[in-house]
């Protein structure tokens, strides 16, 4: 495994402090950019690097930045919002960066602000990430004291402030427009698009929303160049990415790999193989909202297009492994209950559909399924997605449902025929019921 790495290289004892960060050359990219590069040049370098967003959609970052209106024509204040509300089940990569390398995040945020000419950034941190919040806040205090944040940074004309915001536990606030509503102090209801954030974002002003890992890549790209960045990964997806491997593996964790590494290698190599010597039955490539694939299809490059061709999505590159004794219906019962719980409730299809799916999975898993339920799961999912609602939460519930019907129909049918879960551990604790709706 002698692949070039950079994302996690700095991590070590006290790597969250300014002293440790600067000892490793921290903030050099920022200083260089402020002295020698215009914002437009920063955008160009990032465009040339091919950096794609790490928050799930994989949108080219430089292009997203260039959607911001021309500051000569549009004098409105502009904002950067950092989506650190990492809450997709299975995803835990941004947390490592925020806890262990917060100055790397801050340098990335400052460079992104410089590129889009924003003077204010907000970091929206998942409420449960207390250490991430504390470490980032401490790092901001250090940076401010060192003149790396605030007015006229490092003697340049660039002023920028970064504010922390703690989420309150709602998954939907990780959707970029829900996040902006939440930042404004409202309920995190995603906004209909258009208008898009670049024209009408926070408080109606031009806004870019970037993921933590995305901006974390920016200082490296500026220091080492777009060609260096393109030398890693694949043609369509350059650079390294952080993959969280969880589930039934021997060494769950966050691993840095170049785009295109085989998922087989991720499970068997990086994560030490399926635990207890068992076989891999199923896996989610990128968090619970990406469709489950059968274990036999594990030898797929970890890369947007390849996983799409395999019938799923890269998402946030959070691989969840299920061993041969796991019940995929049980897994989907949990996933469906999660989306029922987290739907914001605006759109009819999502509000009612996520509940409906959850109720059906719960019944099948509890031994009260009907054969027609399996077809219902599929037709309901097709009524919920794609693109039928304001945001993609409805899709997030529908896509894994369609996947389990496609790849594990036998198991669903077995549940119905036997009127029980054939894989249930008779000694396991009683499962929680579907969400109660009475007062």
């Amino acid at each position: 495994m002698s692949r070039p790495t950079y994302l996690l290289d700095r991590i070590g004892p006290d790597s969250h402090t300014l002293a440790a960060y600067q000892k490793r050359g921290g903030y050099a990219a920022l200083r260089t950019a402020l002295k020698g590069k215009t914002p437009a040049e920063v955008v160009d370098v990032v465009k040339a690097s091919g950096l794609r967003g790490r928050g799930g959609a994989g949108f080219p970052t430089g292009m997203k930045w260039s959607f911001m209106p021309d500051p000569a024509k549009d004098k409105r204040p502009r904002y950067l919002a950092i989506n650190a509300d990492e809450s997709e089940p299975g995803t835990c990569k941004d947390r490592v960066l925020m806890e262990r390398d917060p100055h790397g995040v801050i340098e990335g945020v400052l460079l992104a602000c410089y590129a889009i000419r924003a003077t204010t950034a907000y970091i929206y941190v998942r409420g449960e990430y207390r250490l991430s919040y504390d470490r980032l806040q401490a790092a901001l205090d250090e940076a401010r004291a060192a003149g790396l944040l605030g007015r006229k940074i490092q003697g340049s004309d660039f002023s920028c402030d970064i504010w922390m915001h703690k989420g309150a536990g709602a998954y939907i606030c990780g959707e970029e427009t829900g996040l902006m509503e939440s930042l404004e102090g409202k309920r995190g209801h995603p906004r209909p698009k258009p208008p898009f954030p670049a024209m009408f974002g926070l408080w109606g002003q031009p806004t870019t929303v970037n993921n933590v890992e995305t901006v974390f890549n920016v200082p490296f790209i500026l220091e080492r160049g777009a060609d260096w960045f393109r030398s890693m990964g694949t043609k369509a997806s350059s650079g390294n990415l952080l993959v969280g491997v969880s589930g039934h593996v021997n060494k769950p964790g966050v691993y840095e790999v170049p785009f295109g590494v085989s998922c087989l290698e991720l499970v068997d190599g990086y994560a030490g193989g399926v635990w207890k010597g068992r076989k891999l039955k199923a896996w989610f490539p990128g968090g619970s909202s990406t469709g489950m694939l059968p274990g036999s299809a594990i030898d797929v490059p970890m890369e947007h297009d390849a996983i799409k061709n395999a019938g799923s999505m890269l998402g946030t590159a959070a691989l969840i492994a299920l061993d041969e004794r796991a019940c995929t219906v049980r897994a989907m019962e949990v996933v469906a209950r999660f989306y029922d719980h987290e739907s914001c409730g605006q759109c009819s299809q999502c509000r009612e559909g996520t509940q409906w799916l959850s109720q059906i999975f719960h019944r099948i898993e509890s031994g009260r399924g009907r054969m027609e339920d399996i077809e219902m799961l599929a037709t309901l999912s097709k009524s919920m997605a794609p693109g039928k609602t304001i945001c993609a939460l409805s899709d997030a519930a529908a896509i894994p449902t369609l996947a389990v019907v496609k790849h594990f129909k036998d198991e669903l049918e077995q549940h119905v025929l036997e009127q029980r879960c054939p894989l249930a551990d008779p000694h396991a604790a009683k499962r929680p019921a579907a969400l109660a709706h009475s007062h």
Partner: protein
Amino acid sequence: MTKILLNGREVEADPTKPLIHACHTAGAEVPAYCYHPGLTPVGSCRICQVEVKQGNAPARIVVACRTLVVEGMIVETESPAAREVRRECLEFLLKNHPLDCPICDKAGECDLQDYAFAEGQGEGRSNEPRRRLDKRKSLGDVIVLDEERCVLCSRCVRFMEEVPKTPQLTVGGLGSRSVIETFMDRPLSGNYQGNLADVCPVGALTLKPFRFQARVWNLKKTASTCGECSRGCATTVEVLRAGEVKRVRPRYDADVNTWWMCDTGRFAFPALNVADRIPGGLVRRSDGWVRADAADTAAAAARLLGIERPAFVAVTPWVTQEEGAAILALAREWKLPAYMVSPAPNGLADDLLHTGDPAPNRFGLEQLGFARKSPAEIIAHLHQSSAAWLVGERMTALIGAAALEALPAHKRIALFDVLPIPFAALEVFASVPLYAERSGTWLNVDGIPRALLMARALPAGMPSLERMIGLVAAARAVAVAPGPVAPSSVAKR
């Protein structure tokens, strides 16, 4: 204006309004729950999906309430794809709906019921238990919420934020557990709460005064005008089986009140349901008041006003332009001064609709030539005159029963009001229909004509006020004409 091709027909569309507005204007029936033309569209219920094709791009399904109209856009509201996505959406909306239409006040005018009836599958596929929530949650004096019926369209939330600008409602909870609530369950306040029941597309928010009062298909609806202030909001007066007025609702009028009305006006209707009216009138005889038919009552009034001097005529601002002109003509024949009793501002003025002036036809009557007099000035005139003709509903209330009772017995008053009160100076009383029972015109605070239509037939034997004034005029003509004519033949004219 922008030209679009809507269901194969070229129509003009307002580019400042969403596509659904163009559809509705052109008569294409696109269902809507979260969309209301008076509120910011949010595109959340998703029921208004239609198929749109622009240029060479493939046809796509969009929510019509959040889609801008573009020149040359091809819109199909009834394409198989559009119908299918709306069917799917409706199935979700009905998933947890209690389907208690038989006991729901909204039944018959419910957007969800109508669309489910027109397009629904007839049979639900869900066997899951439905949401069990609060069926009767009081949100204050006006509104009661049925959480189970709510489709979470958020029209009510946006109404409170955008129209009276007193945000008090919100969506609480997440997902299928969402409910409409007020902060800390505080009751709603403000003078515009009644509109919440109108904006609610289903039976979730209903009016307490209308709860279980009538099935809406039994209500006869007549276009009318609110008589509670000088704004003159367009209304619909809804009468149950030719009897009681059960509900008054705002009617869209772009120039005056758009979709809204205040609660003061909306809930004034119990006053329209008066009992024990006298069809003709009362005339004083030596042994007290006796009932008389309309012609005899009119003749008695005409006799009195032809003889007694000094005298004056006063009307209330509920008198229409037509009635006012006839009264004024008579006053001029008799050479009597004509006044309008002017009520004081009632302190209910706001920035939205209520003007604070309770006189619906002040503008019109003053323009006709009635001189404005306060109730105190009218009382002073009564004391200085030997006779007066007081015409119009609410006359007794404006002047005050006590002031009338305090008049000395030698005064001779002809009172034309809705209900009689006995007082020593009362010589003639004639019954006047309520404004909801008359036809005519008021001019509102801005001089805009406001039409009244008869929402309910008059009690047998009671003429309209215009007819009654005509009878008085006829009786006066007879009195001044040479030769005797029997009063009964006048009545037959």
